[in-house]
Symmetry: C2
Subunit: 147 residues, 2 copies
DNA sequence: CTACAACTTCAAGTCAGCTTGAGGTCAAAC
DNA sequence: GTTTGACCTCAAGCTGACTTGAAGTTGTAG
């Protein structure tokens, strides 16, 4: 497969694939002239990377985990840690969601006068709610060409 | 209050406070010589900003909502939308968490041979799991001076 | 009055994860 | 054999939310 094929099948832009290769996240099996040649298991690897990213691993972390070569026995403890971390995030988000929903229907004249809202404020400013969701949900919006 | 006081009480670095002021997120009530003077309701405003951030609003969005002056009647529909968005994220993260936990205890020789894990892979690569958690949980780690 | 710590401004740097652009190469279609 | 267009490399740019650094000012303790 050439890079266009991989891009098409994975939905990941060629530029990103090159970037991933440079980072050591994926590898091409060789070249045909200048052009990279990939074999199909790169798709699995890309899926793995997408999964890791979705789970909150950075590309560097993924590089470590996938680093060696084929199937590098992903550390199970690491998975549990990450799961725990996600669970914490879920709890925070749940508070947020409920707080927002309440705020939306709350009859207090201003949000500031609603005790629930004020409690939520407290939570947020005490940093109980960590970094947030960070909202960069879609590069699809910026990139919008395929729109 | 001078900026140091606000920083101390809010836990937000002075540099960030200046940055927020420049962005129009907060305002100082005047100067004492060169120095900014804040009044105490800036703390409430900062809490509100922290809350918004935690809920996934960007600083620009927060600037819009808080924009006018005092209590700009935060749009309730916007809150509901954000709540919905968070709820979606929660659902995704829940799948992730469960998937990771399963993967951690799964007896399949390699994760690749575990059907649940493969299903999770599918989810991730189909983008069912959006941008991820984005993991920049703590600038506290980078910034670590206050250790 | 002199230090000096704490403030000020403004520009530039950082981090992650890519994207974009310029300039070059090469395989295949005509 | 020439054109075309997809690929290549390398460097630089982008976004968001800040931080850092240099250079200047100032309130205040001694």
């Amino acid at each position: 497969m050439d890079i266009a094929e991989v891009a098409k099948r994975s939905g990941i832009p060629a530029s990103t694939l090159r970037f991933y290769e440079e980072k050591g996240l994926i590898r091409s099996v060789g070249r045909s002239g200048l052009r990279r040649v990939f074999n199909s298991n790169v798709l699995e690897r890309l899926a793995l990377i997408a999964l890791g990213r979705a789970a909150g691993f950075s590309l560097d972390e993924m590089a470590q985990m996938l680093g060696a070569d084929g199937r590098p026995e992903i550390d199970r403890q690491l998975l549990l840690d990450k799961a725990e971390q996600i669970d914490q995030t879920i709890r925070q988000l749940t508070s947020m969601r409920d707080g927002l929903r309440h705020a939306a229907v709350c009859s207090a004249p201003s949000h500031m006068e609603c005790p629930k809202f004020r409690r939520l404020l407290g939570l947020a400013s005490r940093g109980a709610i960590s970094g947030g969701i960070t909202k960069r949900t879609s590069r699809a919006q910026r990139t919008s060409k395929a729109g």
